[in-house]
Symmetry: C2
Subunit: 530 residues, 2 copies
């Protein structure tokens, strides 16, 4: 669906989302025109300049107001998301709490000013050469384009973590709504807009652009006024945006969270102590949200021998008995079906259970078994299977395991199940090399929103291994430092003035000026582990 | 000069540098072969895995040993650099101190462990949903390719800030030496190699590759084992590496510090109080190192009227009387000559002084005067003039000044001269938008190596506005976070263990566990303001 050329007077291009629950089409949604995209970015640039004059306390109040507005409309938003995505109401309610909790977490962060990293070095005229007075703080990058995920319509959607962290940084946000849930996006945008009006935010602070084609996305990323991109979705989609952004006359950073295979290595010691429990819990992790999670355990390494055999048998039973749900769209169900067919046509690969498509949007819970030779030969077995399917590989000698692990692409997570002393150092070292989060005797699904969370990882899990999209540190993506040399106090931003009027924790002449910091982890009830 | 295909037995390709002082050719230097580049990266990958097991104290000792080795050979290194670059001995001696000081500064940083940003969130089983134990720290990215600058053969060269910060992060370094000073590069590499041997560092921890063509650079950036790039040089060179890195199957970050016009806006109030002093000091800044500085003041905005006329006249006298020196190469002198010819052929542009080439490597000190119309129409007047030349523009009404400032590309610095109350807010706001460092009633040349320094800026000043290449924060370019979930203490890296055996300052349950931090600014005598 191409967008119309400006000035054309034909009916606007429209698109509809189809409910995976009912198969019914949603309302007709007009696709943003080229002129609308341009106008949104121009307004965002104006808003950026206005927002930069806001005190932290006003920005924090804005985030709280957005949280309140979303909370106020949460029943309506969850109902729309249920209809458009088919995700369970309980899951969406958890997401809603997390979305609101994230906004409030960033509000608290902004109040502390810790993200500004205010640093003061007083002049040292006696140094050789003499040193001037230097003060550094972080400032917002500029307007940010956000691309929401299909599988997390709230917490990684229009009002999700990318939007919350960008606004907290002082960056206006232009969201390209995901075409699979346009009504949910509209409701979230309405709540945000109402809160921004109440807080007298500049008009371009936030905009939602809808689109069923790629035209809006392509234009948005290449608009000169956009200074960074946040994206959650497929590797192909993230890479396409990355390539567009890198080819601009002024390249901009793209923080894309993409595909991840989330390997799980289970050692025999763990199976001997708690094999049955692992089967139950692992199946639970695998089937969460019908496997449509960025942290879903995609490749399972299980030792050869009896305890491993028992795990495979138990996992098979769990998956057969486990709940099923619709995938987000027939397209996604079709992609998974094709990928499984390709896998099963490979010598050395078989199905422990599942593999069949049951309806336009539903597949059987599936466990693919690959032998080490097939796994090592076939790159297609080392890619993400988005949905209720995982690949299980049996390993013999440690060298065989290590050579397979060495073939793994970058992941968000790397899980190890082992009793004390049973996990060889090279496996642990490789885990830290290939993933952003190492999970020990636990499961990768469930992303706690705390300081120490890193939701990121080496390519292709993300396009920027140094950044997280979850937790307070996510704000760093949208900030850059500015130093002030020899600048009069009256001209300095408040954060850097000599008397520290904002009461910030600052590094002054290489010493911290304040010890304590208020807590920032999202409080109980607001923390999402969805 | 193409490099040879592997297995070819012909004589290796060689190149020579020519001294801008004497015009004499230096020794014949073999260009690294494709096989040598590959071998260096493979060895660096092995070294990366070994270095990751080193304690911070051992890494710090390694940096100190490199500093000692360079200090020990500093006379020899300065003499070679003098011959190959033509830079003044005093300037090179300052650079040598700075180079050594930077290594020691990073050694102290590594000992504090602050760059690890160790963060601990204890489990909260009572939270809804329950929260696991999560601990996060930074780990090295992997082998780093460093491209040294032509104009700072020591402080931004083989053993310069990029190498020092990468090693401090625990990343092995493969340097592509600048072809204009291969002997200097070799001497620095010898000192580094000797120190690494003494410290029993793994063999691939450091390598120098020489090359007179672009082949070595192209191969190095596209080798899969390289995980980040540090570069200091021209916009064209930096962008070429950025494009290569972005097009890799696994894109990697490029931290390129490139061209910068470093605007200087002088308001009438400053001229009335200290016009003569500004002329002297500004000319001094402009002529430092024959204008071959990334922070050289390239575009000067001066008000119309008598005080501005007086400044132009005084600047002209200062430049006529000011010292001259050779440029780094005939090629650079030729580029500047051509750029000045193009500028002077533009209607509305004239020469206040200079403009002529005096020898293969020497130009007159040059001041180009452009009227507002010419400046606004000609993008070539808003590019970096690398060498002893600046563009001066006269401005009338504030709106005219602002519309010209709005055309400026991103810069490392933005300088304002004004008495209190005389600099309009929009100019200050625009400065923070367009530059990484705002300099007030001072001069952009001179980059103090302290915590609060930001030596970076929006594109095209750098390819990553969020990062600095000078000061302790430069280490961030080569680190990425890893979280550990529910991980047994014995398996955790020491930095994250419950009892904090390294004595680090850590954020534990959102509270800082230690207040004080040892000082990190490079001490007097070690600080470079060259």
């Amino acid at each position: 669906m191409p967008s119309h050329a400006p000035g054309q007077t034909a009916e606007p291009t429209t698109f509809r989302a189809t409910s995976p629950l009912t198969g019914e089409d949603g309302p007709s949604i007009p696709e943003a025109t080229e002129a609308q995209v341009k106008a949104a970015v121009t307004a965002a640039t104006d808003a950026y300049r206005a927002l930069r004059t806001w005190r932290p306390s006003r920005l924090a109040a804005l985030l709280d107001a957005v949280a309140d507005a979303l909370e106020h409309r949460s029943h309506e938003i969850v109902a729309a998301a249920r209809q458009e995505t088919g995700l369970a109401v309980a899951a969406l309610e958890g997401e809603s709490l997390r979305t609101v909790g994230q906004l409030r977490m960033f509000s608290r962060l902004v109040l502390t000013g810790r993200h500004l990293e205010a640093t003061v070095d007083h002049a040292d005229p006696g140094a050789r050469p003499p040193r001037p007075d230097l003060r550094r703080m972080n400032v917002p990058l500029g307007p940010v384009a956000v691309f929401g995920a299909s599988n997390f319509p709230l917490a990684f959607g229009v009002a999700g973590g990318d939007t919350a962290s960008a606004l907290a940084a002082g960056c206006p946000v232009v969201v390209k709504g995901h075409p699979l849930h346009p009504v949910t996006s509209t409701l979230c945008a309405e709540a945000i807009d109402a809160a921004l009006r109440d807080m007298a935010a500049p008009p371009g602070t936030f905009a939602l652009l809808q689109g069923g084609s790629h035209a809006v996305a392509r234009q948005l990323v290449t608009e000169p006024g956009i200074k960074a991109v946040g994206f959650t979705g497929s590797t192909a989609g993230g890479r396409a945006l990355y390539d567009l952004a890198a080819a601009r006359p002024e390249p901009i950073p793209v923080f894309a969270e993409m595909g991840s295979v989330n390997p799980v290595v289970i050692f025999e010691s763990a199976l001997r102590v708690r094999g049955a429990r692992i089967a139950t819990e692992l199946a639970g992790s695998l089937l969460t949200r019908t496997g449509q999670l960025c942290t879903s355990p995609g490749i399972l390494f299980v030792p050869q021998g009896e305890p491993g055999d028992a795990l495979v048998a138990a996992l098979r039973e769990e998956l057969l008995a486990g709940g099923r749900g619709p995938m987000l769209s027939p397209g996604m169900a079709g992609s998974l079906t094709s990928a499984l067919e390709e896998a099963c046509a490979t010598p050395g690969v078989s199905l422990a259970t599942g593999g069949h498509r049951l309806s336009a949007v539903e597949l059987e819970n599936t466990l693919v078994i690959a032998d080490a030779k097939a796994f090592s030969a076939g790159p297609h077995l080392r890619e993400e299977y988005f949905g209720p399917a995982s690949v299980l590989v049996r390993f013999g000698p440690m060298a065989e395991l290590l050579s397979m692990l060495d073939l793994l692409p970058g992941s968000l997570t790397f899980t190890i199940h082992a009793e004390p002393g049973d996990a060889p150092d090279p496996v642990v070292a490789l885990a830290a090399e290939r993933a952003g989060r190492i999970v020990w005797n636990d499961y990768p699904t469930g992303v706690a929103v705390t300081e120490a969370m890193h939701h990121g990882g080496p390519y292709p899990a993300t396009s920027s291994a140094a950044h997280t999209s979850v937790g307070p540190a996510a704000i760093r993506r949208f900030l850059r430092p500015v130093s002030y040399q020899n600048t009069p106090d009256a001209v300095l931003p408040e954060a850097l003035r000599e008397r520290n009027p904002l009461g910030l924790s600052r590094l002054v002449d290489s010493e911290w000026t304040r010890a304590g910091e208020p807590g920032l982890s999202a409080g109980s009830g607001c923390t999402g582990r969805a």
